[in-house]
């Protein structure tokens, strides 16, 4: 198990500042439970990390909170949230340390933690802390206060290197592009910010390799060649596997594997790439490729080879699947399922006999047809359920004779059902002729012609109605109902 250095809102619960726990939680993405990383806002005004929401939308096209439909192309950056998070991350360790200190110190245990004197003490500590780490924590408020009335000249300074870094320069950042400039210049700058941003981004891309990250030097050519635009999502259904493979190799990502894998990999790459394009501090393509490699090992093509692959269905379908081993390791489950199926089939059989007995009393003629039909149904359900549950090879391996017997039964039942379905038509008409006979008899006993006619009509309606009952095709779903829970067991496992 890998260790992560994670912070958590519950850290505050140990301190006197328990109210900070929900505050801390509010600055976190609901999907990854970590602080927003390049927060994006959806059309339904929910905010997530860019990568988190892109992955979720690629998977099911819905906002994870309110489940309204949305598209990745409609996401917009939530700059205010991003800044809030960055500021809070800086302030958090200091505040947490203070809050913990308060909890321990005994002389303050009686006083309210937020009393005036204490806050002063806390402020003093904070001040000290602030001085120690000098410029890093200079707040915007201060810079605004300090900024005197100067000529409204646009002075743009690139702020590409580090999100945490706030230069100590009496300037304020533009709310859209975060470029720092004099306060008075912001409003005039806002009018043409978007265009400038686009131009600057193009320039900045070619410049990044030179800045502060020596390891990126070698990937300079890659970076300058990559377009600043986001990659469009593809409608995979329209692409042949060959075209898809070409797309992947054009993008410079691995293009091996099945079509499904290609689609998955492309989706992941689009998400990684576009989330990176959203970021204020985009990383190099090499970093992204590393991330894709991690994905490949955990969820992609290399993950399936591991024994612990969670998706059994995929594993079972693969050619190298160890059927015997699988059957052995899951023998108890299979045995249980077989026993269950036998028990159910037996129960079903008993139920059938009871209802048949009742039917016989009702209508002799058509019940004969039903009995035939039912018994074949019972057999077919018996036979069909056993092979399903006994699908793995071992149960049959050592019992070839029983396998033969089972096959025979299946064939037998098929013949029977064929026979009964062909005999269904004459069977259905039989009651009618019988009625005629009985009518003739009744007539001899002196019933009026009208009564005879009504009786015949009634019986005719019964006889014309009954064939729909006895149709095998309509019976099967009713008998198969108990199979559903059995199938769900498998569904629940995957």
């Amino acid at each position: 198990m890998e260790k992560y250095d994670v912070s958590d809102p519950s850290d505050w619960l140990e301190t006197h500042l328990t109210e900070f726990a929900p505050f801390d939680a509010a600055l976190r993405c609901e999907v990854c439970k970590d602080y927003y990383n390049t927060p994006m806002i959806t059309s339904c005004t929910h905010t997530f990390c860019s990568l988190c929401i892109r992955r979720t939308l690629a998977a099911d096209g819905k906002c994870p909170i309110c489940r309204s439909n949305d598209q990745a192309s409609k996401l917009r950056r939530n700059g205010a949230m991003e800044e809030l998070v960055e500021m809070f991350k800086v302030a958090r360790p200091v505040a947490l340390r203070l809050a913990q200190k308060e909890k321990i110190s005994p002389d303050r245990s009686t006083a309210r933690p937020r009393s005036k004197s204490k806050r002063k003490a806390a402020d003093a500590d904070l001040e000290e802390e602030a001085q120690r780490s000098s410029q890093k924590r200079k707040t915007r408020g201060q810079s605004r206060r300090d900024a005197p009335t100067e000529s409204p000249e646009v002075m743009v300074i690139d702020n590409e290197e580090d999100g945490d870094y706030q230069p100590d320069d009496d300037l304020v950042p533009c709310p859209i592009c975060h470029k720092r400039m004099k306060q008075e210049a912001v409003f005039s700058h806002l009018d043409h910010c978007e265009e400038e941003q686009e131009q600057d981004r193009r320039r900045a891309r070619t410049r990044t390799p030179n800045s502060a990250k020596p390891t990126l030097g070698s990937s300079k050519s890659q970076l300058s060649s990559k377009p600043p635009e986001r990659i469009a999502e593809l409608s995979y259904g329209l692409l042949t596997e060959k075209a898809l493979r070409k797309k992947l190799s054009d993008l410079g990502i691995p293009s091996w594997g099945s079509r499904t894998l290609l689609i998955k990999r492309h989706t992941e790459w689009v998400n990684l790439w576009n989330a990176n394009a959203d970021s204020l501090n985009p990383r190099s393509k090499r970093d992204l490729l590393n991330q894709l490699d991690v994905w490949e090992r955990t969820q992609g093509g290399h993950a399936l080879n591991s024994a612990a692959a969670p998706n059994h269905a995929d594993a079972v379908m693969s050619k190298e699947f160890d059927g015997v081993g699988w059957a052995q390791s899951n023998k108890s489950d299979f045995d249980k399922l077989i026993a269950e199926a036998r028990r159910k089939a037996k129960k079903l059989g008993e139920g059938q006999q009871e209802s048949e007995a009742m039917m016989k009393e009702e209508d002799e003629g058509s019940s004969k047809a039903r009995t035939d039909e039912r018994s074949t149904n019972v057999k077919t359900t018996n036979e069909s359920s056993t092979p399903v549950t006994a699908a793995p090879p071992p149960p049959y391996l050592k019992h070839s004779d029983s396998l033969e017997r089972a096959k025979e039964k299946i064939h037998g039942s098929r013949r029977l059902s064929d026979a009964s379905s062909t005999s269904l038509a004459p069977e259905a008409t039989r009651p009618h002729t019988e009625i005629r006979d009985s009518v003739a008899e009744n007539g001899a006993e002196g019933l009026s012609a009208e009564e005879l006619f009504r009786a015949e009509e009634r019986r005719a309606s019964i006889s014309s109605f009954s064939p729909t009952h006895t149709k095998g095709a309509e019976r099967v779903p009713m008998l198969k109902v108990p199979e559903h829970p059995v199938r769900d067991v498998d569904g629940g496992k995957s």
Partner: protein, 166 residues
């Protein structure tokens, strides 16, 4: 950056659960080597036949967690309309919104990446108290719960006692 999104998120959830465990629930990875298999202990809710019982369950997480939900299986005897005889838990929060074989779950109750182990376990706890017999996983238990409540409660209490080794 050698780790997957899923393991980081699971680690984060583990941290939350150990820092601030909800009443009657503990959960965590079974071993250090595999963070994708957890064991959870759920206390039986009070004023139900499950009261005083402690029910162990196993949670298995997919590699694309939290996009897909984990599966949950009780590793003790559990007589409940929404628990399959083999222990698998059938509850809407564990079902992805895509497929609804039973056509009764509203999408809002189903799995979403914003859910968590904690929310699952809380849902399961309330499921113990209030079974949903609309689409039972254990038909016999559901029928008994509906028609012979006394017998149902007796079986549940027996299981509780068995689980405690009494």
């Amino acid at each position: 950056m050698t780790s997957s999104v899923a393991s980081k998120r699971l680690f984060q959830e583990y941290r939350t659960l150990t820092n601030n465990p909800p009443d009657g629930i503990t959960a965590g990875p079974v071993s250090e080597d595999d963070i994708f298999v957890w064991e959870a202990l759920i206390q039986g809710p009070e004023d139900t036949p499950f009261a005083l019982g402690v029910f162990p369950a196993e949670l298995k997480f997919p590699r694309d967690y939290p996009l897909s939900p984990p599966s949950m299986k009780f590793t003790c005897d559990m007589w409940h309309p929404n628990v399959y005889p083999n222990g698998n838990v059938c509850i809407s929060i564990l079902h992805p919104p895509g497929d609804d074989p039973n056509h009764y779950e509203s999408a809002s109750e189903r799995w979403s990446p914003i859910q968590s182990v904690e929310k699952i376990l809380i849902s399961v706890m309330s499921m113990l108290a209030e079974p949903n017999d609309e689409s039972p996983a254990n038909v016999d238990a559901a029928r008994m719960w509906r028609e012979k409540r006394g017998e149902y409660e007796r079986i549940v209490r027996d299981n509780v006692r068995k689980g405690l080794g009494l």
